[in-house]
């Protein structure tokens, strides 16, 4: 394993200590050692499962990016065999056991306004109780898509750490239910806009792991022919505009797309993803105001994960209940448990009905949490440990799996098969992506104009 490039400046990287010793077994994803840069002290996860054979950099020594620091003896991590570890790979070493809802509900976080505390204790902690009856196969498809997003993002994280993937990444582990719940409630010819954190939205909307991975590797077979990159993934044939990386920038666009649908007398609607940070931008105000004014068929989906980059929502607005704002513009807003995929799905279905009926826009505030950094070099030290534990206990994949086991007679081996299938799909896509053809210099000046 080579030392990943974690420093955002040219500062020294100091390896502080190892968590495992040579001869010990390690799992991929398990914290292996601790490093210090001028930005932060962070833990770095093992990229492999096997025996740690050799440690090539002693504790408390300076290391450089790219230097070989550990050697493993690999165990095969076969997919599709019976020896599957059913526990999902997590970024955190702490496997949180969900406690009884009422006990967690009493937990007071040290931060946030009264309103924020109400939100966290409120709907997020009700047991999943869907309002409509679902086909078992549909429920499994929801689960599989969420697993696809989680496994894709985890795999991309390691590819990035390995140093094979250029650029940067803004990941969405923990926010799978928002993407899948919304996108699965849309029709195939509805549209979405997304942000710089768009991998989950893309997979939920129907872009393939292959076209996304190719794009992340900068290949010409990528969804944007290598010219967009992680922050601009999209596919105009699958109803996803390339991600808009300027916070809030997609909100007026989505209103405009909905205006087009209305003028074209089309039943299509637009769903616009943005975060809690975007609510402060003027573009939010201007976009939702016009959407409300003209009754435009757009669902404004705020994925409120409590942080805009590293800044807590209570530090950037006095009223932290984002959905309250809709009433000020004269339309309907709703706060939803964003880690309950069925709650998200049902809220979006209702919103879509409202939009198609010409009732104007809907603002859905989905309460969720980012299990990963703002961008890949971020170790999230601004997220308090108790807050992280609380939200990990509400993990959307775990909750849905548990619920399905209890309510839909889905066995753990069936869920394991889902994971194995997803892993195989991703492995194949990664293999192909690493060999996908890159653009040539002949492509430099093309596509500036249509």
């Amino acid at each position: 394993m080579k030392m990943p490039d974690l420093a955002t400046t040219d500062s020294d990287i100091r390896l502080l200590r190892w968590f495992s010793q040579p001869g010990q077994a390690v799992q991929r994803g398990q914290p292996l050692f601790e490093v210090e840069t001028d930005k932060a002290i962070s833990q770095v996860e093992s990229i492999a499962t096997g025996i740690l054979k050799e440690v090539r950099a002693p504790a408390d020594s300076l290391v450089s990016a790219g230097q070989v620091i550990a050697v493993f003896e690999l165990q095969s991590q076969g997919s599709g065999t019976s020896a599957i570890d059913p526990a999902p790979i997590t970024a955190s070493p702490v496997k949180v056991i969900a406690s009884a809802p009422s006990a967690v509900a009493q937990k007071i976080l040290g931060r946030g306004s009264e309103l924020a505390r109400d939100k966290i204790q409120g709907p997020a902690l009700q047991p999943l109780a869907p309002a409509i009856t679902y086909e078992r196969s549909f429920l499994l498809s929801l689960y599989e898509r969420m697993v696809l997003i989680r496994e894709f993002e985890e795999r991309v994280k390691f590819l990035f750490l390995e140093g094979t993937m250029p650029g940067t990444i803004h990941q969405c582990q923990g926010q799978e239910a928002t993407a899948v719940g919304v996108c699965f409630a849309l029709q195939p010819d509805d549209w979405i806009t997304s942000t710089f954190r768009g991998h989950g939205h893309a997979l939920a909307k129907g872009l393939t792991p292959q076209e996304l991975l190719d794009e992340l590797f900068g290949a010409i077979t990528g969804c944007c022919k290598g010219k967009g990159g992680s922050m601009h993934v999209g596919n105009m044939d699958k109803g996803m505009v390339p991600g808009i990386a300027i916070v809030g920038g997609g909100i007026p666009l989505a209103a405009g797309m909905a205006l087009a649908f209305k003028m074209q007398k089309s039943p299509r609607i637009a769903a616009c993803f943005f975060g809690d940070g975007a609510v402060a931008e003027g573009a939010f105000h201007e976009g939702v105001n016009m959407a409300a004014l003209w009754n435009l068929p757009v669902i404004f989906v705020c994925e409120n994960n409590l942080y805009g980059a590293s800044t807590h929502i209570s530090k950037v607005m006095r009223n932290t209940r984002v959905s309250d704002r809709a009433a000020a513009y004269g339309f309907r807003g709703e706060t939803v448990d964003g880690n309950d995929v069925l709650a998200v799905y049902e809220a979006t279905r209702q919103a879509a009905v409202d939009c198609r009926a010409g009732n104007g826009p809907v603002l859905l505030e989905l309460l969720t949490y980012r299990r990963t950094g703002h961008s890949r070099r971020d170790p999230c030290h601004y997220q308090p440990t108790d807050e992280r534990e609380l939200w990990f206990s509400r993990d959307p994949l775990d909750r849905f799996a548990d619920w399905m086991s209890q309510n839909v007679a889905v066995s753990s081996s069936l869920l394991a098969q889902v994971k194995a299938r997803v892993e195989a799909q991703i492995n194949e896509a990664v293999r192909k992506a690493k060999e996908a053809p890159l653009p040539t210099l002949n492509d430099l000046n093309t596509d500036v104009f249509a």
Binding site: W191, G249, M257, A258
Partner: protein
Amino acid sequence: MKRFGIAEALREAIQEEMERDNRVFCIGEDIAVPGGWGGAFTVTLGLEKKFPDRMLDVPIAELGFFGVAIGAALMGMRPIVDVQYGDFLLLASDQIINNAAKMCYMSGGRAKVPLVMRAPIGATGRGAQHAQSLERFFTGVPGLKIVAPSNAYDAKGLLKAAVRDDNPVLMFEHKLLYGSRGARAEPGATDATSEIPEEDYTVPLDKAVRRREGSHVTILAWLLMLHHATAAANILSNEGIEVEVLDVRSLSPLDYETIGTSVQKTRRAIIVEEGPKAGGVGAELAAGIMERFGKNLLSPVTRVASPDIPVPFTPILENAYRPDVARIVDAVRRVVTS
């Protein structure tokens, strides 16, 4: 043939394009108010009666409604969006530069933004924030086409071409050239009227055009300055100095082929621009001419432009701000005798 001013010509262009293609619609402030003005400079006057569903009045939210126009264009509509004063484009900069201009490239050519944007510019006694020449902030943005008509014929033809182009096109119009009448007439306006043919026609978006043939020096200008340059040329002709006047017309891309033909013939070039000299479009033109044709020139490229100041209000100072015929004549005399 009929004789139209720029406002009338634009109005006719918009009407004809909206009749021809029902994806075309207009979106802007005060453009479709019954009993209103047809926009600040009368361009859309009356169109709200002919196209009640496709003339959209908006709140004062330039960033927002430019974004709305871009979103509609992404979904196949063909909007014409305008700002009431070019100075307000700055509010919409993020949507124009970060979204509209880049969407085609960063999607690998898969997303298109067939959008027309219109902006009135120029100093007209209203004070510093309603007076700027904004071209410089948008020329050189890859993915954006920029045009500036000096007369009614070009205004109509360029607008039609812009509507039919699948890319974002920004048209700058000069407030003193509209030829608006009645309550909305501009004091100090210049006649920019033209004969307008009955048949459908377009003007190419990427071409400069020679307005006056000459041999001693080329003046490159656009919008109001094109008219002042022409007036200067007429004066200089009496002194035996024959000025070739080039209407730059396409500010992005710059038409170096037409410019080169002229400059290599006269071997002297003067750029006349309303707006501060530093960082203007003239700076790009001067560098571009020097790179391509510098070896053949008899003297360095010169620029006549406004001083590097915000636009003053009081007429004596605003008139000093705006390059006038006398300053242009003076510059030509100095260049020709150097």
